[in-house]
Symmetry: C2
Subunit: 376 residues, 2 copies
């Protein structure tokens, strides 16, 4: 990956600087989701998810191919996942929200990998036991979103290795140390588990084809920082005789501290965790960057910029699915009628309502979580 | 590993040149099995296996510590294994013969790893399916040796990864790419599965401690070419809080083509496979190198050298457990009374008798093999 010359950097282990998504498309060799593709998708789905309408899912690999296959009667399954390293954030829910929509609209099976070894291998302080606790909590959060147990398989790598490892070694045989070192920008001080891990992440992208002993198309919604895994995996999956997975990439949920980069554990006040209590949410949103003018009078006179206002962006990314309502919020920000105080109070209320409901669903998910989890 | 300067090389993937075992002890930092250690071992075992008496098991790591523990009432288990890549050879049986003896004499549990991914990852032409077939055949050969099903656990890595992988990532976190590249003499063109593999081989050396949630000493009989895996693993196992495994190392069964190096797949005529038929055995032994004089008359006059005669060595390594009988064979070779033709005919007969019995036991093992195999 080119480094140094660019003012931002996107890897699975770090996102630095203000991400220019157009440059990223070029850098990663991915493609923009065109209006034509949106039309085709909407034709089969009945509508478009707001995450696609708003270009939060902005890029893809072979989504056109996937739709060709769909037209030919080959139904796809969906694969996504999350690497546990702390409490899940609102931003983590974005690919899952799309996966859920794909399950509803396309009756798609959804495979969800929770690699409980990845961050353990990549970070010094974490124990496997701690990561596994987090993994279980992630599974509850995901189940709480409303996936159908019969159409959804959640698995932890260390508990599903009986299935995954055999396929991972088939992938690993085709990936050299040089390739991984180049792709992830790591050196010989990396541990041998970390470098192996990418082959474990590749497996669910063709696992259904292995299980059914025939090719089944796969669509992977993911944060664009994860693309590198599949830049490697797609070639290998092809060599193994399976369909390359199609991918759609989402932008990063912005930090409440300001647009640019991605919500992250190193910026806890800019990040809403699913575990945050109501006061915590109010406090964080209260400090959010809006970019409004210095005084209420100036704001009323000059207005603000919704593209720089993190509160507006929170509505856009997650909390206001209705485009007209979102437009009204953006307009009010632009023309200065919506002042920061009220703006933030509204969002905090909205987030807290979501979290309250989410946590109720999560409590209920506890009793049925085993029907989601695959072991072996 | 030092290379170039020495006239031989020993790695898990290649043995080249005439191995000097004294130099190897120094090079690997292992220790000779002393008469004192033999005495201590015999005290508890009741006797010594001829493989130890004859210094075919010639070196160790912390066998003294293992016996200390035994004296303190901490019983050990045994771990060994074989990486399937073709039919098993007589030479492959050597560590298993010792493991069996340890089971009988010390009532030890025996863990047998059959890494059905290792050679798949290390070699170009092999498919996983083929290796797995070979692995199953290896398991039958091993079970045929007479291990007790209740005290013996055989596992294939791809089928036991549900247990092994989780422990392997704990090991892998402590091993860097540099360490593995150095230790195995490989470069960045190695694949990421191969470099990960050493952590899978490490797991059974502390697995019983994990299972029992308390430290259990482990003894590993193995071909000295495998030592490098445990040079890495022992440090890591210690860091994880488990006992370092003790190791005893065996020399390589010589090739029938001549002393030096190790029986190998690239020298099929120098190697007796467990799958060889009687004529095949007669043919190979008929071509064996004895180093006898050019004519019968000269041989009777000058005699031969048992240390260079591969037929003698075959008796020593496997086919004549009785020391006095072996001595008689060696004497007859030395004083020229045993001519090559008869010498070879006797050995071929002995090998064929062994293989016939072995294959009968293997047939019977088929019906009870599942009681040996652990999956998960």
């Amino acid at each position: 990956m080119a480094k140094g010359k660019e003012d931002f950097e996107v890897t699975p282990y770090e996102v630095k600087g203000a991400v220019d998504y157009n440059k990223l498309i070029e850098r990663f060799g991915i493609r923009e989701i065109t209006p034509d593709l949106e039309t085709r998708l909407a034709k089969y789905a009945g509508d478009l998810h707001f995450l696609i309408r708003r270009h939060i899912f902005f890029a893809h690999r072979e989504l056109d191919w996937l739709l060709d296959k769909y037209e030919q009667g080959e139904h796809f399954y969906v694969y996504t996942g999350i690497a546990p390293s702390g409490s899940m954030t609102i931003g983590h829910l974005v690919p899952f929200a799309l996966a859920l929509w794909l399950q509803e609209r396309f009756n798609a099976d959804v495979y969800i990998q929770i690699p409980d070894e990845e961050k353990f291998l990549a970070r010094k302080g974490l124990t496997l036991e701690r990561v596994h606790e987090l993994a279980y909590d992630d599974a509850l959060n995901i189940a709480a979103m409303g996936f159908k147990p019969k159409k959804t398989k959640i698995f932890f790598d260390t508990e599903y290795a009986g299935v995954l490892y055999k396929q991972a070694v088939r992938v690993a045989k085709h990936i050299t140390l040089s390739t991984v070192k180049d792709a992830f920008g790591i050196g010989d001080d990396a541990n041998i588990g970390w470098t192996f891990y990418t082959s474990m992440q590749a497996v669910p992208s063709f696992l259904k084809s292995v299980e059914e002993n025939k090719n089944v198309p796969c669509l992977i919604p993911l944060g664009v920082d994860q693309d590198v895994h599949f830049r490697l995996a797609r070639d290998v999956v092809d060599k193994l005789g399976y369909y390359k997975p199609a991918i759609i990439h989402n932008k990063f949920m912005p930090s409440l501290s300001g647009i640019g980069g991605k919500m992250s554990a190193s910026d806890p006040d800019g990040t809403i965790y699913l575990s945050d209590g109501p006061e915590e949410v109010e406090r964080k949103v209260g400090k959010a960057f809006t970019g409004q003018q210095a005084t209420a009078a100036l704001q009323r006179k000059y207005g603000g910029d919704p593209d720089k206002c993190t509160v507006c962006q929170y509505y856009k990314f997650f909390f206001e699915p209705d485009d007209r309502k979102l437009e009204a919020i953006f307009e009010a920000e632009k023309n200065g009628t919506l002042l920061a105080g009220e703006h933030k109070k509204d969002l905090a209320k909205r987030i807290n309502a979501f979290l309250r409901k989410h946590n109720e669903r999560k409590s209920r998910a506890r009793s049925k979580i085993e029907s989601f989890i695959a072991r072996g």
